[in-house]
Amino acid sequence: MNNTALAVVMGLYFWFANLRFGYTFSGMLKQPVCVALVVGLITGQMAQAMTIGAGIQLMFLGVTSTPGGNVPNDPALAATIAIPIAVTLNMNAPAAVALAVPFGILGVFLDQLRRTINAIWIHMADKDAEKLNYKGIYAAAFIYPALVGFLIRFPVVFAANYFGRGAVQALITAIPQWLMHGFEVMGSLLPALGFALTISVIGKKKLLPYFFIGFVAVVYFKAEIMAVAIIGVCIAYLVRKNANKEEAS
């Protein structure tokens, strides 16, 4: 597969996913497992793309919408750059996770830029309301954010893919063994951040015993994730009345 085409598609994907067209749909499109699906389709290396996508996904599991919509990290920017580069360079999943880190943080600034610029459209809408220009309001809500969003987002991901691949390749061959292993350790530790963040946003310390149940079920009983999910649904159903008790206490 032509790398220029891959860079173009990733740039377009990032633009569209972060446009947030379709509230929950785009929220999921931003996730690395969905980006991996597209990378897999284009490169023809589906299995490898999905494995790497899953690895990066874990780090971003708890990164969802926080009050006011400010996200601490952007999974879409990290994934649209790290997954295609990792797949085409045959990197393993932990190394790809390490590669994703800086882009995730950079993505936050892009989102702040977008929401600052978006203040222009609301003022246009104020004037449109005065003139009863309904089409103008629709355009301010849908068309203008999309056009300017393209200018902010497409070049970043296109350039990172187009020029980044060579840089990453040079880096991989140049760095010493201990450093490469250090990146792999980082990749094996970073998912812990995603899980800790999810526990933190659930925000109920009293429920920590359920975390240990899930943990022990896997390390000692070798339970599969699906088995834990089914047992979890059953337990959730059985203990649901505690919700109101907790409120009363």
Binding site: A54, G55, G68, I137, A146, F212
Partner: protein
């Protein structure tokens, strides 16, 4: 009072689609979701105030005031607003500021419910269930979460906007006071906690290669000792330490990532990790 002006299912559906498609697209720091909320009311405003341009302008302006909530559960506010605009258009004694204050009063509590159910529980749970599939290279691990999550959340929003339009204000106050919603949140949190435990055990794979040579020729492998105490001790410690730090200092992403990078590189360099 005669009900002469009545919204049809069509206007409610249009409001639903406009808001669901665009509720984050035009989000700005200045007034967040106000622009899209206003846009979603346009079909109803055109119909209800068809013969009064001044009322149309006033209606547009009152929906351009500050608004922000969680979009899936927040569609209930649209339903209530549509019901109130309809009453107002039919001559009921509802001031524009009454509509605005109902909206601003509800947006906070509903954002709280929406964030904790739709984003903090439902989304990670659905992704986690399909993570093993993705990890093994199956494209369904990406496709199924996309379809299932979108379908469930859209169904919830569609149900809420129609329900709240029909039943009006009382419905949402019932919903907020109803024990059921608390039970759903609690259940989702229990499930979420168990999933995080299971995933931490499966995917945080840090181990130590450290070996201690004891005089006399035998070698102690540190990881074996750790395993005999508690399997997965290092991954568990990693997750709990980060969690503990977040509880103390808030979700300082940069500091945590920086620390992980330093520990990983140092650990690798010294041969501890």
């Amino acid at each position: 009072m005669t009900q002469t002006k009545k919204l049809s299912k069509r206007e409610v559906n249009k409001a639903f689609w406009i808001y669901q498609l665009g509720c984050e697209e035009s989000n700005s720091y200045e007034r967040l979701q106000s622009l899209i909320f206003c846009a979603s009311m346009i079909p109803a405003i055109k119909k209800l105030y068809a013969d009064d341009k001044e009322e149309q302008k006033k209606a547009l302006k009152r929906h351009l005031t500050f608004f922000n909530t969680e979009g899936s559960i927040g569609s209930s506010i649209q339903g209530i607003t549509l019901a109130m605009e309809e009453e107002k258009a039919n001559g009921a004694d509802i001031s524009g500021s009454a509509i605005t204050s109902i909206k601003t009063g509800l947006m906070g509590p509903l954002a709280g419910i929406g964030d904790s159910v739709i984003w903090s529980a439902l989304m990670p749970i659905i992704i986690s269930i399909f993570i093993p599939m993705a990890k093994s290279g199956n494209p369904l691990g990406g496709l199924l979460p996309l379809i299932i999550y979108t379908a469930i959340t859209m169904y919830i929003s569609y149900f809420l906007i129609h329900r709240c339009y029909t039943v009006g204000r009382s419905s949402i106050i019932d919903l907020l006071q109803n024990g059921l919603i608390k039970e759903v949140i609690y259940g989702a949190n229990v499930l979420g906690m168990m999933m995080m435990g299971a995933l931490s055990a499966s995917y945080v794979t840090v181990t130590t290669p450290l070996k201690i040579h004891v005089p006399g020729g035998s070698t102690i492998v540190l990881q074996t000792i750790l395993d005999s105490m508690l399997k997965g001790l290092l991954p568990l410690a990693a997750v709990l330490l980060i969690y503990w730090y977040m509880q103390k200092k808030g979700p300082r992403y940069g500091v945590i990532i920086g620390t992980i990078i330093v520990i990983s590189l140092l650990g690798s360099f010294c041969g501890i990790l």
